[in-house]
Assembly symmetry: C2
Amino acid sequence: MSDADFPETEFAERTTRAQRAMHAAGLDALFFTTEAEVRYFSGFRTLFWQSPTRPWFLVLPASGKPIAVIPQIGARLMAATWLDDIRPFSAPHPVDDGIGLLANVLKDFGTIGMPMGRESCLRMPLDDFRSLQKRLAGSQFVNASDLVQTLRMVKSDAELEKLRRICAIGSAAFARAPDLFRKGQTLREAFRAFRIELLTQGADDVPYLVGGAGKGGYGDVISPPTDRPLEEGDVLMLDTGAVRDGYFCDFDRNFAVGQATDDVRRAHETLVAAVHAAAAIARPGRTCVDLYRAMAETIGQKDGDVGRLGHGLGMQLTEAPSLTGFDGTVLREHMVLTLEPGIDLGNGKLMVHEENIVIRDGPPEFLSCPAEPDIPVLLN
Amino acid sequence: MSDADFPETEFAERTTRAQRAMHAAGLDALFFTTEAEVRYFSGFRTLFWQSPTRPWFLVLPASGKPIAVIPQIGARLMAATWLDDIRPFSAPHPVDDGIGLLANVLKDFGTIGMPMGRESCLRMPLDDFRSLQKRLAGSQFVNASDLVQTLRMVKSDAELEKLRRICAIGSAAFARAPDLFRKGQTLREAFRAFRIELLTQGADDVPYLVGGAGKGGYGDVISPPTDRPLEEGDVLMLDTGAVRDGYFCDFDRNFAVGQATDDVRRAHETLVAAVHAAAAIARPGRTCVDLYRAMAETIGQKDGDVGRLGHGLGMQLTEAPSLTGFDGTVLREHMVLTLEPGIDLGNGKLMVHEENIVIRDGPPEFLSCPAEPDIPVLLN
């Protein structure tokens, strides 16, 4: 596996941890259809998941290596992973996109866990899943979302190296903001310049780039860029999920175009203070609720307000856990989190700010180069 | 809807066509959870789908506009679309990620169509879907994949404009290959240079870029790039799905590094000939099987060999129909297709080639600037 993202020991360790948890939960197998889970246990990484045509299946038995049931087109790439048992099927197929083959693998297992809960989806046709269930009348499919999320939340040293690298790339790209963004530039042009900078700094891909710009704040934090030019007094925010070797950064930065109002300066200071209030208590043993409350108190957000103030980060832009008032997940060493407070400035304007940290036995490690309290002013 | 990708008439027309088909199929509503379908009927476009945390729901009743049941964080962006009825829920939520609200919208419909067949997935937790079904004991969920795919296959004039633009961007980027790729460059560097070129030429994003390089052909067409340097005698292939305004191109180009063997030259000529054999008969009334056979005969592929030789293209990198020996879909004007023959060169080497066309009343229109039979040789 010459170009693998990790040595085999990484996948063996993930598998052992999973099998220990499966034993405790009484599961005979885990069944996966989604990119992150298939990659987590096999190392199989390809952008080919962009095509919805073909389903991909991975079965993790209670002992031994995972078994891949996958389209022929991926067999060669999967053979380069640590897996030994790869069962390819011709796809697309006139009548059976791998269900017969998959049923044959799963038929020996009584209780089969699969992600069915929060944040999960079923990446195969529902009709095919129903047909699989009919063929496996003696088996039971149960929700294993918690088990899988609990495993993936805690990163290995090798994963942390990947995350350090992509976050450093993000920080380096944001540091070049004064050269990239200028008055009169459309938001679309600003986004394009930033994407190119991320790639130049070493990102493989930029699957996520959203943001906004507006006088004294922006109205929306999930929109694609418009052709509106940047104007004096705008607050510009870019939030990026760039990727290297299949691991994401996820943080944003705010910039004042030409000048910042006192309200904007204060909001930025408060957001940075909220991040540090959470970071100050982020230790093994504290909970997601604790971090949420530390940020919510700093920004003056009431419990029950919309949204969350951060989340897990790794192979996906967002992962479990969620920093909300109801997620009691206990922090553990090597969890990677985003701290993402937001402030409603009234009049439909808001500002958000985000950093990426690792929970350590002591103060957390910042993966993103943390923003200063003073909002940077772009003078171009 | 100042920054909308299309005027409201586009969405009204899509909705009317869908409702006509629903009437014929006896469906009281359509229910969607996936990005392409939600965007197709609403115009809601955001990269926020990268986050698996929140589900998004769209219901298309038998008459009237679609109804959006979506997380609060998207309410403002959705309000900028042509929709009137937007029902936001707080997400992530401790106990109900929108299922109660959704059940309330769907309860009035007896027969609810949703994509459950080939190429579909369920982008919501399976547990939540089961809970929805329990609440809607009087309703029946049926497979509407064919109905939705049939609608989306035929593009509007406005969609064709988007597709022309992104395919022209792809062609312009490939035209700069002699300046981008050179001996000694790693494949990872070549990919990065090509991504940056696509963005510079006007792409918004490059969600898909795969390829390979090897002496006399490559072994795999879905891999991420390695750090192996390009060498004299390599065949380099890049296959890109770049995006502008939410529409994809999907084609590739082959290059010989320094020199090409006779086998490689002949393979390239054959692949180009196969594309033109299919294009020569691509007319309304012919079928996907006809195009498949025209290519398969030219390249000497036997029926039953692995894979397909092209597919639909539009809001997704790959869409229905499939150019296979079993997809009898009849071609209609304004279908957009990729023609994608491949040749097995033996010794684990293969070559592929791909163009993008529109079915017209007469010869098809090439969206990609078609490759010449002679494989281009890079002399840097």
